[in-house]
């Protein structure tokens, strides 16, 4: 293992975050706070509670997931897309690093960054609504696994994208709708039965459900399914990356 190289890439990426701290950390925190004001305080005042939990508290896990998913995907995608775009990727390609070391550096940094954002949002949320976390260890596990697996997805998107539009398109057109329709702001049981079935094909439902379970101990689907879903997704991303590297796809002419 070329640990020096992994470290070099990781800190290069983290420094990029530090330089753009306003855009990369403060802005997701502000937008999440706005969600709290709108959904939690304004609308939540009219919704008494969902399954015995105050609405403002109920949306916390979904809001964290919303930020986590979009941040993980865009950070990792941008991290690998940018050197491809400017041409500085030549240095990575000609260095004595294996593809998985490159992944560790970029995906590790993107995941760390969204994990930090997730924790900051959690702390912020706690200012609006007092939270009690039923299964803190499981909460951290979901948090970390989500960050890693969606950063892997972002890495794939960054390699696949050959222009800025494609880079923005996936988070905007796929991730955001999936999170909104995945039960971030409502319980699946509030939907008509037909839609409940349709929703079960949305992988994000399992994530949010499992994450919410770690907070309040209740879930839309059994937590076992949530763990399985995220594990399958993680493995699928790793297989895809392995295929990309063994073919040189989009990286080496």
């Amino acid at each position: 293992m070329n640990w020096q190289a992994i470290k070099a890439i990781y800190f290069f990426e983290m420094n990029r975050t530090r330089r753009t701290i306003l855009q990369s950390i403060i802005s997701p925190v502000i937008s999440t706070s706005l969600y709290f004001v709108v959904f939690g305080a304004a609308i939540g005042a009219r919704i008494e509670s969902v399954e015995g939990i105050s609405y403002a508290a109920f949306i916390v896990p979904g809001l964290i997931m919303l930020s986590l998913l979009t941040q993980s995907v865009t950070n990792a995608a941008f991290g690998i897309y940018f050197p491809k775009f400017t041409g500085t990727i030549y240095e990575i390609l000609s260095a004595p690093v294996s593809p998985w070391e490159v992944v560790l550096g970029y995906v590790g940094a993107a995941a760390s960054k969204s994990l930090i954002i997730g924790l900051i949002i959690l702390a912020t949320a706690n200012l609006f609504v007092p939270l009690e976390i039923a299964h803190p260890l499981w909460m951290m596990t979901f948090l970390v696994l989500t960050c890693i697996s969606f950063a892997l997805l972002g890495f794939i998107i960054g390699i696949w994208a050959d222009n800025f539009e494609k880079l923005q398109l996936v988070p905007l057109l796929i991730i955001t709708p999936m999170v909104f329709l995945g039960g971030s702001f409502y319980s699946i049981s509030m939907l008509p039965p037909a839609w409940q079935t349709v929703t079960l094909f949305n992988p994000v439902v399992y994530l949010i459900s499992g994450f919410r379970w770690s907070f309040f101990g209740l879930a839309d689907v059994h937590v076992g399914w949530s763990v399985l879903a995220i594990a399958v997704f993680l493995v699928a991303c790793m297989v895809a990356i392995h295929k990309i590297f063994s073919s040189g796809y989009q990286l080496k002419p």
């Binding site: 470290k7 030549y90 390609l93 260095a95 004595p96």
Partner: protein, 308 residues
Amino acid sequence: MGSIVSVQGVTKTYASGHQALHSVDLAIQEGEILALLGPNGAGKTTLISIICGIVNASSGSVTVAGYDIVKQFREARRLIGIVPQELTTNSFETVWDDVSFSRGLHGCKPDPALIERILKDLSLWDKKDATIMTLSGGMKRRLLIAKALSYQPRILFLDEPTAGVDVTLRKGMWETVSRLRDEGVTIILTTHYIEEAEEMADRVGVISQGRILLVEDKQVLMQKLGEKSLSIILHEPVEALPESLAHYQLERTDNGRILTYRYDGNAERTGITRLLGDVAAAGLRLKDLQTSQSSLEEIFVNLVSEAS
């Protein structure tokens, strides 16, 4: 001195269908400066990109110090530094951070003293805390060299190192290259300037349309360069050369109106005085004389046009 880089039967066809390299063989000697000379589009960048792992070869193999560049990429790439043709730099990092990054990427522990020396050697020390986007083109080129030197490679590839660099900087670049050579670094540079190959290289490889046409000691090329020719233009054409001129091996052209004599321009005795005396004695009347020197340019143009 054995060969440190060995390229065997490497071909490259890009996804576009364009064949950029046709079965290239090349042996690079340890410690030498090899210039790859060829016009734009010849395949120079493609060839060195394959050796460095930036482009996949379509077929053939490359070894670096005996290590296969695909199967033993770690060992091979540890030895190689590359300075790309385009000024592909980061923008927002500082010079110091960027050079340190390159060192780490190649698996080396931090060594601030070394990086300080490299930056000083390349006159970038006063820019160490500047962000890269504030550097001039020449500074960016030197930054790319500093990055490649930060992990002390044994082989350094310089792709058109003096393109877009002004005269004083070019001199500095040449000094850097010869200092590295003195330290034992093998250097491969590509260029389409003949003077550059002439000035810096020990050996010159001529490449055109994806084929290496020759690899020759620069001295041997210079010998060819020393050859001069004298054209004697006559008033009246001659049908056949007189017996007395036979041993000069003159070439008759323009229907016998021009006689060309080839001689070594560096020699003590060129034979010109005797030749002109014999020409006059044979009763031929001179209209004009013309001498010319075959340049590396000419050798090059001949080679390239022969190949196509």
